[in-house]
């Protein structure tokens, strides 16, 4: 398997979105109608179906930085909102629909999704959760492998910064992000093995393909995975945020971190990254910024929020060059004042008293500030 040479540090964003009915704010089943409608319009990037009829996925084109990514996301959001308005559907961010019942989900009528359902049973319908994937362009395969290892240390950051799925199946989960639990159930979830370089990774992949366990990189549901088809690495732990702005902020943060790591090469990857990963990841899902973080290199414990602030400060020179200094400073500001979208959703629930209202407010948040 080849890793194509690509321009380093470009950005790409995928967003999985909730389709919500107007009258009771439960999930709709109308992805087919919406996608058909959007196919006739000029929408930047791409709009794609997902495993159940209650979701769609927005794909950005290749972007250089924060401003371009945000502009494109806004254009996509507006086009989708226009089409959804005609069908009386609401569009919603957030990592999980607060009260839908997974058994009610209907699988998108498509060969690939039917196979997924046949293979994974109820997991396929439970996989109606909504994530943001961030692609970072890598110059070559070895750097991609290095980035996957090193960014694994920062997984808790992305979970805590994006956490927006406190409710699941009608209950408060007490987690900031409950979405990743749905991902963990899949047999090929988890992380990339501790390989030294691209050649070693390619060998691992060929072995797995030889066993018939996987056919393509798509079959690995890892938190971060190399994506040789695009010449990128893909961070997959983020909940879809409640606004496109936050989605662009998260992408900008990932880009700045990647730039810093490739430029400064602060550490060589060690297996310790993966030894502490499960613990850190849980802390982030459960407690967000307030979770504990074990640093695999400095071998000490601090708060996830504090670690994010340190990391933002560390990546600031690269962010300035990439034109995203203000963007990552905005994220740091949220950490400082303890703002997370999971808490926002909980506050909406406490004020309104019903999860149906939480969805309505989230849908209004998604549509707010549109041009």
């Amino acid at each position: 398997m080849e890793f194509p040479r690509s321009q380093g540090l470009t950005l790409g964003i995928e967003l999985e979105l909730q389709l919500v009915r107007a009258h009771d704010h439960d999930l709709a089943h109308e992805a087919g109608d919406l996608i058909e409608r959007l196919a006739k319009k000029k929408v930047p990037g791409a709009v794609k179906p997902e495993v159940t009829l209650s979701m769609i996925e927005l794909n950005s084109s290749i972007q250089g930085g924060f401003a371009g990514a945000l502009a494109e996301l806004e254009a996509q959001r507006d086009a989708v909102l226009d089409a959804a308005g005609v069908l009386n559907l609401r569009i919603c961010g957030g990592g999980a629909h607060p009260f839908h019942k997974w058994a009610e989900r209907r699988v998108f009528p498509d060969e690939r999704f039917r196979r997924v359902t046949e293979r994974y049973g109820y997991l396929a319908k439970q996989f109606t959760v909504f994530g943001q994937h961030i692609h970072i362009g890598c110059p070559d395969g070895d750097q991609a492998v290095y980035l996957v290892h090193m960014l694994t240390r920062y997984i808790p950051h992305f979970i805590a910064l994006s956490a927006a799925s406190p409710f699941s199946q009608g209950e408060d989960t007490s987690f900031q992000s409950s979405r990743l639990t749905a991902v963990s159930a899949f047999p090929l979830s988890g992380h990339m093995p501790f390989v030294g370089d691209w050649a070693e990774f390619a060998e691992y992949f060929d072995t797995m393909r030889g066993f018939g366990i996987v056919e393509s990189m798509k079959d690995f549901y890892w938190d971060i995975r190399p994506k040789p088809e695009y010449g990128t690495i893909e961070i997959r732990v983020c909940d879809t945020p409640l606004t496109v702005r936050r989605a662009a902020l998260l992408a900008a943060y990932a880009q700045a971190l990647a730039a810093q790591l490739l430029e400064e090469r602060p550490h060589a990857p060690t297996p310790a990254i993966y030894q502490v990963n499960a613990y850190n990841r849980f802390e982030a899902c459960r407690f967000g910024y307030r979770g504990k973080f074990v640093d695999p290199f400095e071998r000490r414990t601090k708060g996830i929020g504090a670690d994010i602030l340190d990391a933002v400060a560390g990546a600031m020179p690269q962010a300035r060059r990439l034109g995203s200094a203000e963007a990552i400073a905005e994220l740091a500001g949220d950490v400082r004042r303890g703002y997370s979208e999971a808490d926002w959703l909980r506050a909406r629930f406490n004020e309104r008293g019903s999860l149906s209202d939480v969805v309505r407010d989230a849908a209004e948040e998604w549509a707010a500030l549109r041009q």
Binding site: R21, A22, H23, D24, H25, A28, H29, E30, G32, D33, E36, R37, G85, V86, L87, N88, E104, R106, P109, R352, G353, S354, S356, D357, R360
Partner: protein
């Protein structure tokens, strides 16, 4: 010899209304389950068939007095349905999607004139033809709502079917009211009462719906977001609205429909929770359809059969015309318009009541026309649910296991 078994009632025992009601429920339930299992038909069709079997023209178990006894069940069932239908009337959607508004109104208007033309062709007097056309414009709210619930349907065809039903029911009543003055004048009544009567019927009903909505919003705010409490509140207000509408001699159905429409569109601070019918409501619906079946009269088919067939065909064509013309423009996918037209086929059981009222006013033409409309109603009561079920399934909008 002394009767030791004095505590055993004399044979045959006097069966009270509870026994009657229980029998209706069991019969309806079995009928529904049978047609569903044997022929994969909607359960509603089974309830109706059980009603026909129980009815005065077959076994004769259910007769006029029973309708009066079960009145409160029917009122409640229809009340819940009309409210929910009104609640699905989303004004904001129609404002955003103007072609949808055009399609919905066009469906009502097209259906009305198609039936009118058909009946004129059959040489009915214009005024009666217009009355029958108005009656035929309405799709059965009970059938579309219950088939939707039974199949757990959700999607564009389903949503539009419910919206169009709300619009064509409202249109049917407005059209009937517009004809009232002419009916009055034919009977040589005072022109002032000819004009005031429809205004009172519609205006009074709308006012009642509006006041009920304000009361519900205020009380719901105070009760808080609890589904159980809000459901009891809704049932209580529906009963009140039905009772007050009767007492005030205004149109019950319009009062309930406007109640729901106001509730959806005036709830600015979202005090109301979305309504969910529970098992208890299912019970009401079984009684409703069994009794509807018992009230059907198939004898008229012998005389009004051909005309009824014409009525059904032109009614369908009238509905389909506007939907096919504006369906794509209003954002319906290819094929959706045809299915939506089929889904709207069920005819309102209220037609029976409306027609009987008209017959009372015009015994001369009334009986003849009643034969046509009642035959059509009887046929559509059986075919309608099947058509709706077919359309929603073909549209792919039903739950796979429903």
């Amino acid at each position: 010899m002394q009767n030791v078994a004095w505590f055993v009632p004399a044979w045959p025992p006097a069966l009270g209304e509870l026994v009657m009601l229980g029998a209706l429920l069991v019969g309806g339930l079995l009928g529904g389950e049978l047609v569903h299992r044997l022929a994969a038909l909607p359960r509603i069709t089974g309830y109706v068939l059980a009603g026909v079997a129980f009815g005065p023209h077959a076994l004769g178990l259910v007769r006029e007095p029973h309708f009066a006894e079960a009145r409160v069940f029917i009122d409640l069932a229809l009340g819940l349905i009309m409210f929910e239908l009104g609640y699905r009337f989303d004004l904001a959607w129609l404002q955003r999607n103007r072609w949808l508004a055009v399609a919905a109104l066009g469906e009502s208007v097209g259906c009305f004139f198609a039936i009118y033309a058909g009946l004129m062709y059959l040489e009915f007097p214009p005024l009666l033809a217009a009355c029958a056309a108005a009656v035929g414009t309405a799709t059965s709210p009970a059938v579309v709502m219950l088939v939707t619930h039974e199949l757990r349907a959700s999607g564009q065809v389903t949503e539009r079917m419910l919206l169009f039903t709300a619009v064509n029911c409202a249109s049917a009543y407005v059209a009937l009211m517009l004809m009232l003055p002419f009916l009055h004048l034919e009977r040589a009544e005072d022109w002032r009462s000819a004009i005031l009567h429809p205004l009172y019927l519609l205006g009074g009903a709308a006012l009642l719906g509006f006041v009920a909505c304000l009361a519900m919003l205020a009380l719901a705010r105070w009760l808080g977001k609890r589904e159980d409490r809000q459901f009891v509140l809704l049932v209580a207000l529906i009963v009140l609205v039905v009772g007050l509408a009767r007492a005030g001699n205004v149109t019950v159905v319009v009062a309930l429909l406007t109640f729901g429409m106001f509730a959806r569109n005036l709830d600015y601070d979202h005090a109301l929770l979305p309504l969910r019918f529970g098992y208890a409501a299912q019970l009401l619906f079984v009684v409703l359809f069994v009794l509807t079946g018992a009230s059907l009269d198939f004898r008229a088919l012998a005389t009004g059969g051909v005309a009824a067939a014409v009525f059904i065909v032109v009614r369908f064509l009238g509905k389909a015309l506007a939907i096919l013309a504006f369906g794509r423009l209003s954002g319906l996918r290819a094929g959706g318009a045809g299915l939506l037209s089929v889904a709207l086929l069920p005819m309102s059981g209220l037609a029976v009541v409306m027609v009987q009222d008209t017959v009372a006013l015009f015994p001369r033409f009334g009986t003849q026309l009643a034969a046509v409309v009642l035959s059509a109603a009887a046929v559509l009561e059986l075919l309608g649910p099947i058509a709706t079920q077919f359309a929603l399934k073909a549209a792919g909008e039903t739950h796979p296991e429903a």
